[in-house]
Every structure is written in C-alpha cells, then in structure tokens.
C-alpha cells in the first residue's frame, strides 16, 4: 500500500448503483485492478444514469457506499490506489 490513493467522487447528488442492473455482478470490488476508462459505478440523478469511469488506473482499495445509497455531490464513493 504505497501508491497514491485517487478518490472517485459523485459528480452530482443521486443514487449510487454498484452494478448495471440488480441481476448483474458489481462493476468493481475491493482488490480488483482497473484501468483508465473502466466503468466503476453508476450515479442516478433525476432519472438520468451517469456512468462513473476511472480517470486513473490502479487497484480498488475501498468502496465507501452501499448499492442504492443516496449520495451527495462530491461525496467519495470509491478509492483507488494508483499504479
């Protein structure tokens, strides 16, 4: 655990979804490696779904919210240790 941690935040207030649909597996889980552009989660606001993509590659070290949680604008959702 030496890399810098990059915090993924909600771009707007809404509902956090960890998976594309209730039947699907979560986009990411702790320990998973991601690369720039990978979809990490979805934030739904006013019935508009925004896919949140990784701006940096690395390893997911923390998912701070539960599926379907309400999130505030700029709230930290996921932490990624950069590689």
């Amino acid at each position: 655990m030496s890399g810098k941690v990059y915090k993924v935040t909600a771009p707007l207030a809404g509902t956090f979804y960890e998976a594309p649909s209730p039947e699907d597996a979560p986009f990411v889980e702790v320990g998973q490696k991601v690369k720039t552009g990978d979809v990490l989660c979805i934030v739904e606001s006013m019935k508009v779904f925004t896919e949140i993509r990784a701006e940096r590659g690395g390893t997911v070290v923390n998912v701070l919210v539960e599926d379907e949680d309400s999130v505030k604008k700029e709230q930290v959702l996921i932490e990624i240790e950069m590689t």
């Binding site: 809404g14 594309p20 649909s21 006013m46 508009v48």
Partner: protein, 449 residues
C-alpha cells in the same frame, strides 16, 4: 359525480389535478414520499398520506401503498397523473379489483396502447401508416441484432413501459445497439418499473405532432386539435405549441380523423393522445398512444378553453363530455416551455438543489404550472421537470413575444434551469419562422454560441 380522489403522483401535475378537483368540489388525498414531506401538493390537498421512502420504487411506484392509502381515506377514485403508474395496466386492474375508479382508460386499452407491437398491428389494420419495428418486446441482444439486420440501421430503442424520452436511444450500428439496450433497460426499470424495450426504424428529421382526444363512456369522441412537440433533446420534449406552424387545414383534418379512428378502434375512454411522426412531405405515421394526461396538455387547454383534467374526471364519473366537436374551436396560439432543473451549459446535466430567489412571471396571457417555492429542495430522486411556462397569444408572433417576456421575468437561484436555453431558442430565426424538426437541437449551436 366523484366525491373524493386520491392523486397517485407528485410535483406540478399533482397540484394541477388538485386545482381542478377543488373547482369541482371534489375532496383530494395526496400521497407523498420522505423527500416530499414539504411539497406543495401535500399542502394543497385536503388530506395527505405518507407512502414511504424517497425512491420512487418504494413510494410512488408502490401500488400496494397507494391502494392502502386510498382505502384508509375512503377515496372513490385514483388519478395517476403522468409517469409513475399512469400507463401501468396492472395498476389500473388492481384499482378496479379494489373497487376504485382508475381515472384513465380501461386496463385492456392501456395494455393495448402499451403493447407497441399489438397497437401497431391494430392501427396498421385500420389503414393508417405505422413505423416498422419489432413484433414484440426484445427478449435478448441477439434477437435485437438479427431483427435490426433485417430492418436496417438507424433504429430507435424505446421503453415498453412508458414515454417521456426515458429509456430511449438511437443506434446507428451494432455496437450502439448493444450499449443502447443496456442503458435504456436500466432507465426504463427506474422510470417505469419495467425494463422491457422494443425497437423501431428511425425516421430522419421528422416532426413530432400529436392529437389530443377525449372520449366518454357514451361513445362520444372529440379531438382538441394538434400539439407540435418537435423541440426535444434526448427525445424529451422541451417546447410544445398548439397549433403547429407546419400543419395546414388539410393535414389537421386528416390527422385528427385518423386519431379518432384509432381511439374508437381501441375503445379509448378518457383523455388521451395519439402521437404521430410527420415527414417533410407531410406524410404522417402513427407512433404511439399515450393513455394518460400529458405534460404539455395546457397548450391545448389555452387554445380550446377546455379543462382536460375536468373532462377526464367527468368521463371517469360516467358523465357525458361537456362539448361536441362543433363547439370546439382552436383560438389563437399557445406555447409551453418546460422548466427543468438541468444545466443547459453542461449538456443538460441534472441540477438538484435548493430553490432561492424565486420570482415567477405573470401578467396577460401567462400561466405557470409549478410546485416549487423558495427554500424547496429539488430532489435528485425524481424527474427534473419542475414547472412549465405556458403563454397564449392571438397569433404565433404574439405567443413568441409573450414567452420571451415570461422567460425574462422568471428568476431563480441555487439551481440551474433550462431557461437560458429557452431564451436562445425563442430568439432563433429558424424557431421564430417555424422551421424545425426533432433534430433542431442537434443542429442548434447551443447556449455558448
């Protein structure tokens, strides 16, 4: 006549329905979620029942809670408004089974209108042109690909469960089709509680023109003329008007006649809308039946003087329509701008937040339907539509000038609104001249130019 109505909705449309009920001497019951405790529809209604958490799925889409509230308060009828459960056949049926009048067409008619393939078959059978598309809801991505290989690209993916642009995507190739199916299905699930989708050929640069109809239970059918709804972004209407600058007497007669034939064929009994796409050669194609009150109904009310909610309630009560076709006139011109909590400078991104410094427009020929007020929190849980400015003028030019003035008078802080976008459109030469189609916004230089 009905004595007490529960309104299974929120926001401006709940208020709109409550207002007409009050004028008719009908008691109202509001329902509300956690996010709507301080909502105006709760304050305006005679009684109110809390039905659960903010998420629509757990409150406004929860049929059990709504039926329980209606029983508890002794309502006789349920008005579903638009969105939520308004086009849900099962909900209409559940209302019936629990001896509530559902203010809308029968479950059978809703089912037929909602089953886009069945509707297409029935209406195609009347000799009215329809847009080619999937015979049923799409069962798998593979099925979609093979269907579209036959239809040809581009196609439009649509939600089986409702309208309003939710769950709608255009696909120009297989990659866009597969991605579109996934996104549209998620949006549909949240917006309508139903992830089903269907696919249609996409007609280039059409106009979206719809006909408002009313039909009572005594076999009286009337139309209230057309609404022009071509100004859309992401398939969501933004500006509507009545009449349409594109429709002449001959086209109007043909479209209204087709709409009434459709309404009769599906035994429509309530207020409803038949949507058409019209190409630049004035050919029109049946698109769908909206078996509910629509957001843009006020422009029709302004030019005809008919209170469409009132007629809906009278029809549901078993009364006759209050007017014959001969008594209905389109007088002058009406236009509506939808005020959405969206940032037109940031690609219409949702902009939930707390309303401050609100000043609403007024004066001659202006109507504002909204549920917002100072310190009201616009919630991320619901649609971004927070109000509508509707104007009336003797002609289109006057209506445009009035709308320009109304937009200028509208002041709000704390959240971003679509108002600056509307101001630009209302000053644009093509719009003012009536030259536009559903792709207008794609070709529009937007707010920054």
């Amino acid at each position: 006549m009905l004595r007490k109505i529960l309104i299974a909705n929120r926001g401006e449309i709940a208020l709109r329905i409550i207002r007409t009920c009050r004028e008719m001497g009908i008691a109202t019951v509001a329902v509300y979620s956690d996010a709507d405790v301080n909502s105006l529809h709760v304050r305006y209604a005679d009684e109110a029942v809390h039905i659960g958490p903010s998420q629509s799925r757990k409150s406004y889409l929860n049929a059990d809670k709504i039926i329980t509230a209606a029983k508890e308060k002794g309502a006789e009828a349920i008005h579903p408004g638009y969105g939520f459960l308004s086009e849900n056949e099962k909900f209409a049926r559940v209302c019936q089974e629990n001896h509530f009048i559902f203010i809308g067409p029968s479950p059978e008619t809703i089912a037929l209108a909602g089953n886009k393939s069945e509707a297409r078959k029935t209406i195609g059978g009347l000799g009215i042109p329809v847009i080619p598309g999937s015979a049923d809801v799409i069962r798998s991505p593979e099925e979609a690909v093979s269907l579209v290989n036959k239809l040809g690209y581009p196609v439009i993916i649509k939600a089986a469960g409702g309208g309003g642009g939710r769950g709608m995507r255009i696909a120009n190739n297989e990659e866009e089709l597969l991605h579109g199916l996934k996104v549209a299905s998620g949006e549909s699930r949240v917006a309508f509680g139903n992830p089903d989708l269907y696919i249609e050929s996409y007609i280039h640069n059409p106009r979206h023109i719809e006909i408002q109809i009313l039909a009572d239970q005594h076999n009286h059918y009337v139309h209230l003329g057309e609404r022009e709804c071509s100004i859309q972004k992401r398939h969501q209407k933004l500006i509507e008007e009545s009449p349409s600058p594109f429709v002449d007497k001959e086209l109007r007669e043909k479209m209204c006649e087709a709409a009434l034939r459709i309404a009769r064929a599906i035994q429509y009994k309530s207020a409803g809308t038949i949507e058409f796409l019209v190409d630049d050669k004035r050919n029109f194609y049946f698109m769908e039946v909206n078996s509910r009150i629509q957001v843009e109904h006020p422009v029709t009310e302004m030019v005809t003087g008919v209170d469409i909610i009132r007629e809906q309630i009278l029809i549901a009560s078993g009364e006759q329509l209050e007017m014959t076709q001969d008594e209905i006139r389109q007088n002058g011109w009406s236009m509506e701008c939808r005020i959405n909590a969206e940032d037109p400078e940031d690609n219409f991104a949702p902009s939930p937040g707390v309303v401050e410094g609100l000043i609403l427009p007024g004066g001659p020929g202006i109507r504002v339907d909204t549920h917002i007020y100072d310190s009201w929190e616009i919630s991320p849980f619901y649609d971004s539509l927070i109000g509508k400015i509707i104007v009336w003028g003797r002609n289109r030019e006057m209506a445009v000038c009035r709308m320009q003035r109304a937009l200028r008078e509208f002041k709000i802080e704390g959240v971003k609104m679509t108002i600056p976008f509307h101001e630009r459109v209302l000053r644009d030469g093509n719009f003012v001249a009536g030259h536009f189609n559903t792709n207008y916004i794609n070709g529009f230089n937007g707010i920054n130019s």
